[in-house]
Each structure stands twice: as structure tokens, then as C-alpha cells.
Symmetry: C2
Amino acid sequence: MSTNPEAGEITHRNPNLKNLNVDVLYHFDLTTEMDFKAMFGDVKYVCMGGSADRAREFALKAARQMNLPITDENLKPIGKTERYTIYKVGPIIFAAHGIGMPSISIMLHELTKALEYAQASDFKYIRVGTSGGLGVAPGTVVVTEEALNDDLRPYFEFSVLGHKRRWETKADIPLMNAILKAGEGFPMVRGKTFTANGFYDEQARMDGALDPDFTVEQRRAYFDALRADGVRNIEMEAAYLLGFCTEAGIPAAVVCAAILNRLKGDQVTSTSEELASYSDNPEQVVLNMIFHELAKDGDVWRFGEDLNQ
Amino acid sequence: MSTNPEAGEITHRNPNLKNLNVDVLYHFDLTTEMDFKAMFGDVKYVCMGGSADRAREFALKAARQMNLPITDENLKPIGKTERYTIYKVGPIIFAAHGIGMPSISIMLHELTKALEYAQASDFKYIRVGTSGGLGVAPGTVVVTEEALNDDLRPYFEFSVLGHKRRWETKADIPLMNAILKAGEGFPMVRGKTFTANGFYDEQARMDGALDPDFTVEQRRAYFDALRADGVRNIEMEAAYLLGFCTEAGIPAAVVCAAILNRLKGDQVTSTSEELASYSDNPEQVVLNMIFHELAKDGDVWRFGEDLNQ
């Protein structure tokens, strides 16, 4: 167990794994009897979001911009797609983690094991998702400095064998700064992210199926307190991702599109086209950052002219 | 707001909904501008599980047994399938809720609103899923009496505007008893269900990506305590479902297949065929219960001979 997460070294990885003859990554339908090194050995970035459709679009967009011969016809997922979906384009994985922290937790455990078995090195995790903005306009890119849990505390808390554990939920600073630099010219803010365990009452919406049992005034005071604390968006996975990666020694960041301004309402009334255009912004910012880093590392990927920005 | 949940009346439903001109059920891509009454008005049962593939198989199985002309070719989902998947066969919905309580919560809010707008009445929710058995063999049907949270307490707790709320997590007794009766002859146990917020450390697995930081002996003592408290399986959604339905005044039950015995290991090493056969048991028990109730109600559905058991 290393004690130097700053250097990106493995910190609290599981020492038991070396005693397993075969490890079945049940939710991916992959096992270590497969050639993980060939499948995942060169991975440097994992871009993850909630939806399998979006992961596919994002992967195809990256392939186009990298001038790779990967198309809608020949792009195949890795493993089964019953619960999660994984695509790989060059050294970048595009993955769908489903909704909420329990869902992303399974993907992070199994994907991290896969990359470890594959002896992939120096890889980074970036959540590129959607969120409710707090005082920011739809389409704004919100870059997370730190995630707050549903008690608005800056850690992720969970129970193991009936005992509470806490993980720190700060984004990796060099990765966050690289994303902020790549995003210059985009509508972008940085701030804290509130990670809720639901979409309706848990995010202070008043349009769920159950009586919300709070008033518009109480909600406004709550949002004002969040804003004053530096919160700029609300979503459902950042605290787990950042906590897990702190423990695992993996640099991680969260970059979300705001798809509505929660100070102005609860309902997501944008069209599919508008929603896709909102997601384009964080996706392009992250791709620009990745392409810049890969070019700096002397990577052999050939980029098209549309990247000259 | 009614105060008589025993009678199945609406209890804590949201009074704000009647003030919405249009309600966009964002995650389903459905809006109240559609004819919800035609789409959902006759729904009496919602059978839900984690996987969209399984929901489809389950729907097709029901259609075959009901002698309905619904086939793999013509069965279409209702709404978009990007995040959730909904099929309807006669008065039964088969739906995929994804993994974990935040994920199922969104489906329950939006589906319940849809059924309410559709003026559906006397509908019941049943989770038909998979789980880790605790001292029960793979393939056993575990019927939940009550769900425990990750502190092993018999309630679901969550935060709204920074304040804690608690919901009771008991199954509806008449519905549970009807399921137990329909399951006579199947390998079946009833007991408590531990609902965890993850699959690895949170379910006391030692094969996650991170150092579990507990010993085999501590885990054994924990499982012994769970068994002594009446827990027979571990999964990831029951506490939210039962809590939500208690609040909403909807009879609800949870019927899961055990796909492994956690006292004997962590890994799910069964083949796809074995896993499908394990899921067959709870699915058939629930279908038998539903067909029995529909026949009793004089419903017009015509059932095939294979239901004469």
C-alpha cells in the first residue's frame, strides 16, 4: 500500500486480488481468463456518463476527431451491455455508469480491476455528465472542485459491516486545471457540486410523486445557502467518483453540463436537440484536454484540422 | 391527503401536480400531453427489476402464458430506453429500474405520476430481481418481509433540504401472502432483506478494487448477526421501493432469486443459462400470483394450459 497519492501511485488497492485464480467481473461479463492486457493495456483516460446512448455518441465524436476508422457500423461495446456499456477508442474508454452512486460504484470497482489486471498505467477518470445548474444558464460547463454529500458535507460516507467510512471528495487539481485551461472560450464555471441520492425531493424538486413537504421559500433559502457555500450544480454521482479515486490513487475530475437553472424551475423542458447541444460543451472541453495531453506526450494519434483551436 | 394506507388509499401523494399545466417525465421522455389514460389506464401490476434485457424476457414470457399475440418482433418499449425501459403486456408493466436506490427512485416517481395521471387504480408494485442469498442456495426465491438499511435498521433514511426523513420498509402483507401462496412448491424462503448501497465492500465482499479493510472472521461474525436477525438476502433496491410505496399508499412486495450463497463466496460464477434459470423461479411465482388474482377478478385474459397449476 503506497502512501503517496500525490504522485498518482496506487494507494488503497485490494491486496486480495492477487490470490484469485480467476476474477469474474460479473456486471461486465468479462473474466481475467480473457486477454485484458490486449483489451485495456493502453488505456489512459476513462470518460464516463450516465447514459449508454451518450457514451456511444461521445465515442464516435472522439473517433471522428482523431481520424480513426471507427464508425457507427463498426463500433462495438466491450463486454455485455445489460447493465453498463463500455466503448474504447484509441487510449480512451467511454463508459455508461447508470444513475446514482450505487450504480457508478459497481462500474468503478470492475473497471479499475480490469485496468489493473491489464497493467494499464497513469490512467485518469473523468465524469462528463449532465446536472442541474444553480444560478448558471443551461449549456454552461460546470467543473467540480469538490463534491458535497446530501448533508452538504465535503465527504462521501458509507457503511461497511455496519461501520461508517468517509472518503475525501476533492477533484485532482492538475487534472481540473488542465480541463479549465482546455475550456477557455466555452461558457464555464468552477465550483462545488452537490451530489444527491435522488432527482426529486432529494434535489429539492417539488414535482415528484410524493408530497415534498417543504415550501418554495424554504427551498429558496436552501438554494441560497448552497450558492453561498460555492455550489454551482447538483447531480448524482460526483461524490462517489471523487471519493473512490482518492482512495484508489486515480486522478479524477467531474465536468457536467447544466441542463437547466434550478433557481428558475424543476422541469427539464429542453428538446432532445437542446440537451445534446448542452452535452456537446463538456464533451468537447474534455476531448480538447485529452488531445492536448496526448499530443504533448508524443502520442501517435493523428488529429484532424477541426482540432486546431 | 388520506390517512388510511391500510385501505390502499392515496396517502402522501404530491398535491402540487394538479397545478402543472404539462408534466414532463424527463427520464421516460413522456409528457402529460400524451394520452396517458390510453397508455396506462388499465395497469394493475408493475413488475420491476434491474435489467432491461430481463424486463423484456419477463414481458415476453407473460405474453406467451397469457396467449397474447405479443412477440419478440412486435413488443415495443413505451418511452425512451436511454435510462429506463418500460414494456406493457395486458394490465402488467415490466420495467427496468437500473441499479441502486437512487436509480429506482427516479423510476418510481415518474411511473407513479404516469399511473396517477392515467387514473389507473388499485395497482401494485413488485420488484422481481436477483440477490445474494444468506445461507440459502442459488435458485431459491426469497420473499421480503421487511428491508433493512446499511446500518441494519428497519427503515429507509434520506435527506431533503438537509433534514433527515425516514420511511418504513415493510412489505404489504396481503400481497406478500398472495406471493407466498402462489410459490408453494417452489424453493422459497421468507425473511428480511438487507439493502446495500453498493455491491463490493458495502455487501461485505472482499474482491472489490479497494482494500476491504476487514477480515474473513469479522465478515463471518457480521453475516452470523444478519442471519440471526432474520436476513435471508442482500440486494440494492428493496428499502427504497418499500419505503416509497408505504408513503404513496401502493401495495408493494419484493421477490428475488438468490444467485449465489454469500456464506460460501463473493464471486458470481454461474453461467448465463444458470442465472436465467434462477430468475425463472421468482418470475413464475409472481406471474402465477398475478394470473390467479386476475382470474379471480373475472378478468378477460385467456390463459394457456401451462397455467393450470
